[in-house]
Symmetry: C2
């Protein structure tokens, strides 16, 4: 019953909310406690960083690197670049091909031991096997900017 | 056949790649052309922006706003905040409750006509119905930072 999950708001609209609010999920705040928020930033700080949807068109193990996979990303058309990502323990190369990710697309290229990294793939999690890539909801296409 | 999608790389590793590379997907580069990349940024610019995984614990229409939904986000534990997001044409409030999103968590709060917005939910797409929220892969929890 839809009504069971709604309640009137003071503004006269309808509120969709889970019964019990945040307590329904085991979100205990430990992740935030482990890595506290950084100082406030401005909207200009955010727009300096150009986050883009990209498609993984190739993924390769870097045998001599403990954590790295080498990804070939497409921003659409001829816009292809190479990025090294510390996700080896969490993802198999073949599972990445074709999927969308979100990358920092205007990051200064960085020379690494294994080659030039032309951007950075975004992910969250403490590391090791606990790394989780970001992706957009279905319908997004490579090259779209994150706002 | 797994071998059909792999080829030897010059580094001796295996490359997982789609046959035909980028041409397998209709990613024509128009999104990037419509909104060209901003000038290069540094890794320090990126780390100034604190992107966090958050769970939507309530979502509400803002009747007088053409584009806005009012979201209540949890970063885990007692860390709850209100954010106004311009996603009304693309999402139904009841479809958002419980899901994970990615927000700019250290953005200076902004007083809007309808209330205080304590952060920003990230999404891509040209706007209107074509707005696509970001989320982390399964396993991520609220409060985790995006790196």
């Amino acid at each position: 019953m839809i009504e069971a999950s709604k309640q009137s708001s003071s503004a006269g609209g309808e509120v969709a909310a889970a019964t019990g609010g945040a307590t329904q999920w085991p979100d205990d705040g430990s992740a935030l406690a482990a890595e506290p928020l950084t100082p406030e930033c401005t909207i200009d700080d955010f727009t300096k960083v150009d986050l883009r949807v990209a498609r993984v068109i190739a993924a390769e193990d870097v045998p001599d690197a403990k954590k790295l996979l080498k990804l070939t990303l497409s921003l659409g058309g001829d816009h292809v670049r190479t990025v090294f990502a510390g996700i080896k323990e969490a993802y198999q190369p073949q599972d990445l091909v074709g999927r969308l990710v979100v990358c920092v697309a205007n990051l200064a290229p960085r020379k690494m031991k294994f080659g030039l990294s032309e951007g950075m793939v975004t992910a969250c999690g403490p590391g090791g096997k606990e790394v989780f890539l970001l992706s957009p909801d279905s319908g997004a296409v490579p090259g779209q900017r994150v706002h």
